[in-house]
């Protein structure tokens, strides 16, 4: 399969921890501009896959390519982030002792070395970008509040906002609607669909209602490899998926 038009290309990837095969001969291809939902039971290797893509974990075998040509197994977290892969953790991880605005400022795309940060002064363009993102994630009225004071759902949004500030080409979004109300879930689906217009996105989620809202191609992982792939209706009709994940 040609890598040329892919944003993410995994082929034959395996990794094991203490003999346990978390990822087993996984192959997954994401086209440029595509949004993909990944489902699967606990321990299927969803988060480990994200760890491999973002450089946190090195695979034992297999190829991982970003943007058709960059071998991600040769780079570390910071380099991969700078190349344009943003990641939202399963548990919302924001800088709790900083304000919403400062959280976004630290995420904003720009030089990532010490001395520019030491003498950094906020430019009008940066202020505008922060305003835009605050509008998108609907936290404009809370800009000066500490991130610690946000609700769980708002923290999820702030983290998505931080991803947007990074302006990545590919977003990996791990369980964005965990702990959200139904209204918030719908709102988040709308937000992600907006983002997917000009970004490639991978969403890991258990909430089937939310996955349906997204309306994109679905990949079901099981025991570290792809069990089924296709539209949500196709995947949820698949006998094996019903067996291991959806239940009868």
């Amino acid at each position: 399969m040609p890598k040329s038009n892919t944003i993410l290309y995994l082929d034959g990837v395996s990794v094991s921890f203490d003999g346990f095969r978390a990822i087993n001969n996984l192959s997954l291809v994401l086209d440029k501009g595509e949004m993909r939902a990944i489902i699967g039971p606990n321990g299927a290797g969803k988060t480990t896959m994200m760890d491999i893509v973002t450089g946190k974990t090195r695979p034992d075998a297999g190829e991982v390519y970003f943007d058709g040509q960059v071998d991600l197994t040769k780079h570390d977290e910071a380099e991969i982030a700078m190349m344009g892969i943003g990641r939202k953790f399963q548990k919302p991880t924001v800088f709790e002792s900083h304000t919403i605005e400062d959280n976004l400022m630290l995420a904003l795309k720009g030089p990532r070395s010490i001395f520019p940060a030491l003498f950094h002064r906020r430019s009008a363009a940066e202020a505008r970008q922060i305003d835009d993102i605050l509008g998108i994630i609907r936290l404009g009225d809370k800009r000066d509040e500490l991130a610690a004071n946000l609700s769980h759902g708002q923290k999820q949004w702030l983290e998505i906002g931080m991803l947007l500030a990074q302006d990545p080409k590919l977003l990996l979004v791990d369980e964005p609607v965990a702990g959200m109300t139904d209204a918030e879930t719908e709102e988040t689906a709308r937000l992600l669909r907006d983002i997917a217009r000009d970004h490639s996105v991978i969403v890991v989620e258990h909430d089937m209602h939310f996955v349906r809202e997204l309306g994109v191609k679905v990949t079901c992982l099981h025991e570290g490899s792809v069990l089924s792939e296709g539209s949500l209706d196709f995947v949820s009709a698949d006998e094996r998926v019903v067996e291991v994940y959806l239940g009868r």
């Binding site: 991880t93 924001v94 800088f95 709790e96 900083h98 950094h120 002064r121 500490l146």
Partner: protein
Amino acid sequence: MITGRFFAAGADRRIAITIFILLAIAIIVPLLNLAVSPTSAFYVPSYVVALTGKYLCYALLALALDLVWGYCGILSLGHGAFFALGGYAMGMYLMRQIGSRGVYGNPLLPDFMVFLNYGELPWFWYGFDQFWFAAIMVLAVPGLLAFVFGWFAFRSRVTGVYLSIITQAMTYALLLAFFRNDMGFGGNNGLTDFKDILGYNVQADATRSALFAASAVTLALAVFVTWAIVGSKYGKLLMAVRDAESRTRFLGWRAENVKLFAFTVSAVMAGIAGALYVPQVGIINPGEFEPSNSIEVVVWAAVGGRGTIVGPIIGALVVNAGKSWFTGVLPAFWLFALGGLFVAVTLFLPKGIVGMWDSWRGNARALRAASITNPINGEAGTDPAVPPPPKIVRSAARTPGDWSASGPEPQPAE
């Protein structure tokens, strides 16, 4: 921007007040020592000048630790090593100023080298007859050690208690090395019997006053620098690394470089503190590398309130004043008192003196605000029928400038 922040209210005003007080005592204390008659009630005895000058050096050391511990969560149990290295660099300069006035009268070799049958000056003592060279070494040696040590430790992602242990091992290794006579630093006895600094007698009242003033001004400058660092975007990043290191990595920041910069700056500050300390106490020996010294610095910072800049200074002054008093009255019990103090602070004042003050002030302000917004009863709180105003519980760091380590607990990502 930076000046605007400097005169703003809240935590920033506290920094401004601290700097003002330090600059004021840098002028007033030497004046009261030198220009006031010893019979006057305002006279400051020379021993008090020397003693408080020493405390100010300790305060600078505590401030240096605060930068890495309070703002970046790196609990260094080896900061005494940087302090001692700065002190040794200054001590070497002072030794070479003795010249032929030593007991053995050798114009080139310090007394201990004559005593240990050194034929010539070891290479690493060259240049220390010049103050400027010694001054550069005061900054460079601790800075370089911290840089190399931090380079390896942070790149290997050694964190938490493991990092604390290896910093402790570092200072212990230096302790053992400096105890050896053939290291060329005076072994067990260290460096002492200093005569002159920059041509002035180190024992003279005027010199002691000048050293006191230099310590106070340096501390004021260090407060300003630390405040400027933690208020910058880098400072916010430093705290971000403390609270969620992996998040900063996935945003593209190199957390190891962020830590390395703070660790090196902090070590340089500790080295300066040591260099100011040595001429005021008149001796530097390997005992300064004792791991227990470094742990004491941690106690000062914890007592004062880490992550507050002003707190560790207050902690260093209070604990050392207590130590001077206690070792005079009940010398055998000092270590128990120190240990007890640390336990008590951890249990009852987890945010230290300054953190305690802040939350007390925060509550008082909330009470006042509640009584103003209560129009039914003019004197809210005095009437038992009025329910007590709700306590507004907020995180200690309320405003962006109000940095505090007492915020939410650091949360591991994933």
